[in-house]
């Protein structure tokens, strides 16, 4: 098996060196940090992503709760930095952590309330940082897809054309490219290209899918024996491609984008509604139903009282002269 690869790779190996000198390699590493309190599904999702990133490095759960980054920090002068992104999670410290482990990219999975997952993508030395809300998470294991890929092979990154439309999406595209794209010649990367990572935009959200590239022999072959021969000759070229999904699946909603650490927010998604808001609205809706009903009950009692139909309280009916109680008293 090694021989096969060598024979494929051997001629090619000498090429780039001679062509454009010692090829400058894009060196990039990604630190993947979960927060304290992620659920098993979040963790599995993270591990799935990590499995496809040979240039990634996992760190232990980041405990931002005991450390109180936000409060120990002296308050900024009045009005200054009303909102510095990431102070509550200790982003600066996370950044240092990344730097200590030689990583220039950071993915931070922040779990809130044991149910909401936020993903922070950051370029380490000086931003930008983007915060996503993760929804529709499905891990590889849950999905039972038949696709599979080499661990550490470099993915083709497929972006929606919409990514080139808006500046903030272009920044996000670059961040995706640099975090999820495996740099050429990364240490643990494997030679062949057998999967594709697709980033699409629909409904204002970013949808991530991972597919295996499955090459099958072309079906459209003519009948002659001669053509069969030729087909066997250039089999490498004449293959159909189809894709098999591998998993995981995530949908990301952009929340904010920050230019640099501790810097101003340069993009904020107006359409994002926090899951807390959604939940509380739901609860309120439910409570509203009950409140309306109980109000109705009280109203009815009052009405009855006004009509003198209640034994206790309310108005008394004026006694009629023809009332049987009057007549036969």
């Amino acid at each position: 098996m090694g021989g096969a690869y060598k024979s494929l790779n051997g001629s090619e190996k000498a090429d780039p060196a001679s062509a454009n000198g010692p090829a400058r390699k894009q060196k990039s590493r990604v630190l993947i940090v979960p927060s304290r309190g992620i659920t098993y599904r979040h963790r599995h999702l993270m591990n799935d992503l990590f499995a496809m990133m040979p240039h990634g490095k996992r760190d232990v759960k980041w405990d931002n709760k005991g450390k109180l980054y936000g409060t120990t920090r002296p308050q900024a002068p009045a009005g200054l930095h009303g909102r510095i992104l990431g102070t509550d999670i200790g982003l600066t410290e996370l950044c240092e952590l990344a730097e200590m482990s030689n990583c220039n990219n950071l993915i931070y999975f922040e779990a809130r309330k044991g149910q909401d997952l936020y993903m922070w993508l950051s370029r380490v030395p000086n931003g930008p940082t983007v915060k996503f809300h993760c929804q529709n998470m499905h891990t590889m294991e849950e999905l039972h897809f038949v696709g599979n890929a080499l661990k550490g092979s470099r993915p083709v990154l497929s972006f929606d054309a919409a990514f080139d439309k808006e500046p903030y999406l272009r920044v996000i595209k670059q961040l995706f490219l640099q975090t999820f794209g495996v740099p050429e010649g990364a240490r643990k990367s494997k030679p062949f290209i057998d999967h594709v990572m697709a980033f699409s935009i629909a409904d204002g959200k970013i949808w991530i899918r991972v597919y295996q590239i499955n090459e099958t022999e072309a079906k459209a072959q003519t009948e002659d024996g001669e053509t069969e021969k030729s087909s066997s000759k250039n089999r490498t070229k004449e293959t159909d491609i189809n894709l098999l999904e591998i998993g995981p699946r995530i949908t990301l909603t952009t929340i904010v984008l920050e230019g640099s650490f501790g810097g101003p927010i340069i993009y904020e998604n107006k359409e994002f509604i926090s899951p807390n808001q959604v939940r509380s609205d739901l609860r309120r809706q439910q409570a509203g139903k009950h409140n309306a009903r109980s109000e109705q009950f009280v109203e009815r009692l009052a009405k009855k009282g006004d009509l003198g139909l209640r034994t206790h309280g309310g108005k008394k009916m004026p006694t009629d002269a023809l009332d049987s109680r009057e007549l036969f008293a």
Partner: protein
């Protein structure tokens, strides 16, 4: 380019320790300076000047100068950071920001300073950023910028009731993009980034996001389109693309997981097959019953016909019975056989199914048949074997499906009726 970076590396290796110390010294100096002149904006100005000075130096193109802020982090981990790589192609602005950031980080204990610093940095780097923010004054100085932030904060508070504040600072976004972007155009080999964009936005192919099938199909289409392009590009660059069948290495999903997937597939397939078979059997059964009924009817019909024929024959015999020869019985037999076209053997069986004669029937009617009438309606092997009236569906549904004819009243109302 390359030689420059090499030189830088070499220098970094040589001077790494020195620079660190120098750096720290510098930082300490600055801190003390700052403390001294903390009262006014003078400190800031001084600082800014300093930074500008340094920036100028770096911009001046002395490779060693912009090295000194690099090697802080990079003396021990060249492989980790691609900052050096970016430094090569991206402009000196990268190094600027980096330098500022680095220092800010070193001086972290002084948090307030850090913030001022950050602000300074913004003032320097993001003067343009804020220009296109719709309703702001021109941020010329640091203080102005702060004021501006103040303003925007107040605005925020004002705006919240009406609408979420939209921040979309295009210039800043462009700057950030310029700072971090890797080249993905034609100038670099495709294999270095392996990134492709689809021709048209995927959202166009999704009429309804909630429609899972169409949506996933659109995503698939996008991926497939780009993969096809990518393959041709990679093949052109002589990159090994397809994995040979005999290349075994660790996969993303391990064997256990794949085994599970396979087992699931098999289970699904077998369940489908089993259900199809069951349906076929059911249909056959239904059809078989029909066949059985038809057969019974046919048999009955045939029986009736034969009986009729026998009757007519008998009548004929009775008409010309006057001159009967010695072979009367034989002739009778032959006649029947001719009429029926049936072999002799069957006659016995047929007769057993015959009705008894009329006299007997009359008597049976009058006096009863003699046999027992008890249990005549109880089930026997035939009746209990007859499943024509049975339906599995009805059994499983139970009585839940149809509502009771007369609803049973609640307990209180029933009891009220009694009293």
């Amino acid at each position: 380019m390359v030689t420059k970076s090499r030189l830088k590396m070499a220098l970094a290796h040589e001077k790494g320790v020195d620079f660190k110390k120098l750096h720290q010294k510098k930082v300490a100096k600055q801190a003390s300076k700052k403390k001294q002149s903390k009262t006014g904006g003078a400190a800031k100005d001084g600082e800014a000047e300093e930074w500008e000075d340094e920036e100028e130096e770096t911009k001046g193109g002395a490779p060693i100068d912009d090295e000194d802020d690099e090697d802080d982090s990079e003396d021990d981990d060249e492989e980790g950071h691609d900052v050096a790589a970016y430094l090569d192609d991206s402009a000196s602005s990268d190094s600027e920001v980096e330098m500022e950031e680095k220092i800010a980080r070193v001086r972290q204990p002084k948090q307030s300073e850090l913030k001022q610093k950050a602000n300074n940095k913004k003032a320097v780097a993001a003067v343009e950023e804020d220009e296109d923010d719709d309703d702001e004054e021109d941020p010329e100085e640091d203080i102005a910028l702060e004021d501006l932030e103040d303003l925007s904060d107040a605005e925020k508070e004002d705006l919240v009731p009406h609408q979420r504040l939209t921040i979309n600072n295009t210039t800043a976004l462009e700057m950030a993009l310029k700072r971090i972007s890797l080249a993905t155009d034609k100038s670099v080999p495709f294999k270095s980034h392996m990134t492709l964009s689809s021709v048209e936005p995927t959202a166009d192919n999704i009429p309804d996001v909630m429609d899972d099938l169409k949506r996933e199909l659109a995503f698939y289409g996008q991926a497939l389109e780009t993969v096809k392009q990518a393959r041709s590009l990679l093949k052109a660059e002589n990159v090994p693309f397809s994995r040979p069948k005999d290349y075994f290495a660790e996969m993303v999903k391990d064997d256990g997981q794949m085994e599970k997937v396979k087992a699931r597939l098999i289970e699904e397939a077998s369940a489908k097959k089993a259900s199809a078979e069951a349906r076929k059997l059911r249909d056959l059964k239904k059809f078989g019953k029909q066949v059985q009924v038809n057969k019974l009817q046919e048999r009955q019909k045939a029986k009736k016909e034969t009986l009729d024929k026998i009757k007519t024959l008998k009548r004929k015999r009775a008409e010309n019975s006057g001159d009967l020869g010695t072979h009367e019985a034989d002739l009778f037999d032959v006649g029947i056989e001719e009429e029926l076209g049936k072999p002799d053997k069957k006659r016995g069986a047929d007769r057993s199914g015959d009705r008894p004669n009329n006299k007997r029937m009359k008597k049976d009617q009058k006096y009863g048949f003699g046999g027992k009438k008890r249990h005549s309606k109880s089930g026997d092997a035939m009746s209990s074997g007859d499943l024509s009236g049975f339906s599995q569906k009805a059994m499983k549904q139970g009585t839940k499906g149809k509502p009771p004819k007369t609803a049973r009243l609640g307990k209180s109302r029933r009891n009220a009726g009694k009293r």
